[in-house]
């Protein structure tokens, strides 16, 4: 059987792993390649590297970093952050990334999703959505959570999948950094209404939060950063817990 996936996320700024709380207050958390290789060894199912400097500052070294990761890590990984063109994606995939995630650029130019899926296949195109609950529904935010839109997350996710997104990486800004659990409602809504995998992100604090997002929200994968980086939770312990709960997990 296909397993649920545990995905550590490494936010990269100037070549280092960092983690913000509620999208702000960035702290240093170590060398991304060392960390990535360690997680792979511990049983992480995939890795996500998000270059959070990308939207605001120019970056030339991301492709080189991707190649260094690909050399050392023997599990699949996704790269995201400021990707806005077929050319960007081509460079990253050719550097050794297995998938790329697009966010703001795809929202501003949805046709990009059609182009990317036609050129590279849906399986390597992840649509990342930052979402916040307010006024009774979940809305899409852009530019790393700084810019609000009036588009509902469920609508954008559906359109994106129709255009060729192969997976949805959904980050709840309300939950991110709080360690109070994943956003089960919107994760569940997307998971049930879309025919592509949904990766839940934001809010992981305890092992029970992971079993909840798999069992109650039907997420296909769960992503977390700080609890792994600061060793508040070890991946083997988490997998052991989920296995005992009867959740399909890879050992």
């Amino acid at each position: 059987m296909l397993t649920k996936r545990i995905i550590p996320c490494l936010d990269i700024k100037d070549g280092r792993t960092v983690k913000g709380v509620n999208f702000e207050n960035i702290r240093d958390a170590g060398d991304p390649i060392e960390l990535g290789a360690l997680y792979a060894e511990q049983g992480a199912d995939e890795l996500v590297f998000l270059d959070i400097t990308a939207t605001n500052e120019r970056r030339k070294t991301l492709a080189e970093l991707v190649t260094r990761i690909a050399r050392h890590v023997n599990i699949p990984f996704t790269v995201g952050g400021g990707i806005s063109s077929v050319e960007d994606v081509s460079v990253l995939l050719n550097s050794g990334a297995d998938k790329v995630s697009v966010n703001t650029a795809a929202f501003k130019n949805p046709q990009l999703l059609n182009e990317l899926s036609r050129e590279f296949g849906s399986q390597c195109i992840v649509l990342a959505i930052d979402t916040r609950f307010e006024e009774g529904d979940w809305f899409v935010y852009l530019n790393g959570g700084r810019v609000k839109t009036d588009i509902r997350t469920a609508d954008w996710a559906k359109e994106a999948v129709d255009r060729g997104a192969g997976e949805i990486l959904l980050t709840s800004m309300n939950n991110d950094g709080t360690k109070q659990g994943f956003a089960l409602d919107i994760t569940g809504r997307l998971s049930q209404s879309l025919h592509v995998p949904v990766i839940a992100s934001g809010g992981a604090g305890t092992m029970e939060h992971f079993s909840d997002v798999f069992e109650k929200a039907g997420a296909d994968a769960a992503l977390a950063a700080s609890i792994f980086h600061y060793k508040e939770m070890e991946i083997p312990d988490l997998k052991n817990y989920l296995y005992k709960r009867g959740i399909q997990i890879r050992f």
């Binding site: 996936r5 023997n74 699949p76 297995d98 399986q123 209404s193 025919h195 592509v196 296909d220």
Partner: protein, 197 residues
């Protein structure tokens, strides 16, 4: 030992190259017929769409060249599907080493089955020398919307609502639907076993 990776328009060659590099093996990526024919091992990787890939291979007569290879050949993912007879993906006639059809996953109930299948699935019924150092039920990383049906050449089975071929073998042709180059230690062991053939 000379290891060649077939260069064409649907390769995930970089990942395969890096996996070989981690095993201390240097490989060449080439579409040169002589180089491919003279290699000790040939790897046929692939991520992409079947009809475009076959058109590209036919144009360069690589389809017949691949079929006539005598050394051990390892097809990966789309590479495995292209070694089959026919793919439902844009109704494509393939190379035909394996007498099998490639079909698209169908969800029995809407949205129950996520397509493509992305993630780790276990493989069972293993009987090929390339699985010598892999355990029954070991997990491999799969990314695909199309699958090869079961047949006499099936050497590993995976299940995604239905049972299908996770691996095939016929004579010198070995093929896996999953990505050994991305399947952690288990995948690495498969590549190593193939290189030792």
């Amino acid at each position: 030992m000379k290891t060649a990776i077939i260069k064409y328009n649907a390769g995930n060659t970089r990942s395969v190259l890096f996996a070989l590099e981690r095993l201390g093996v240097e490989a060449t990526v080439t579409d040169d017929p002589e180089e491919l024919k003279s290699a000790d091992k040939v790897i046929f990787p692939g991520v992409g769409e079947a009809s475009t890939a076959m058109a590209y291979l036919r144009e360069r007569k690589l389809d017949t060249l691949i079929k006539d290879l005598k050394q051990p050949v390892l097809g990966i993912c789309l590479g495995m599907q292209l070694l089959c007879k026919h793919s439902e993906e844009n109704d494509t006639d393939c190379i035909g080493v394996f007498d099998l059809d490639v079909k698209k996953f169908q969800s029995p109930v809407e949205n129950l089955l996520k397509i493509p299948q992305i993630g780790w699935n276990n493989i069972t019924g293993l009987h090929s020398v390339i699985f010598e150092h892999v355990g029954q039920n070991d997990y491999m990383y799969f990314v695909h919307s199309y699958f090869a049906e079961l047949g006499p050449e099936t050497t590993a089975i995976a299940n995604y609502v239905i049972n299908y071929s996770a691996a095939l073998q016929k004579d010198n042709f070995y093929a896996v639907q999953f990505h050994p180059e991305k399947s952690a230690q288990s995948g690495q062991n498969i590549i190593e076993s193939f290189l030792r053939l």
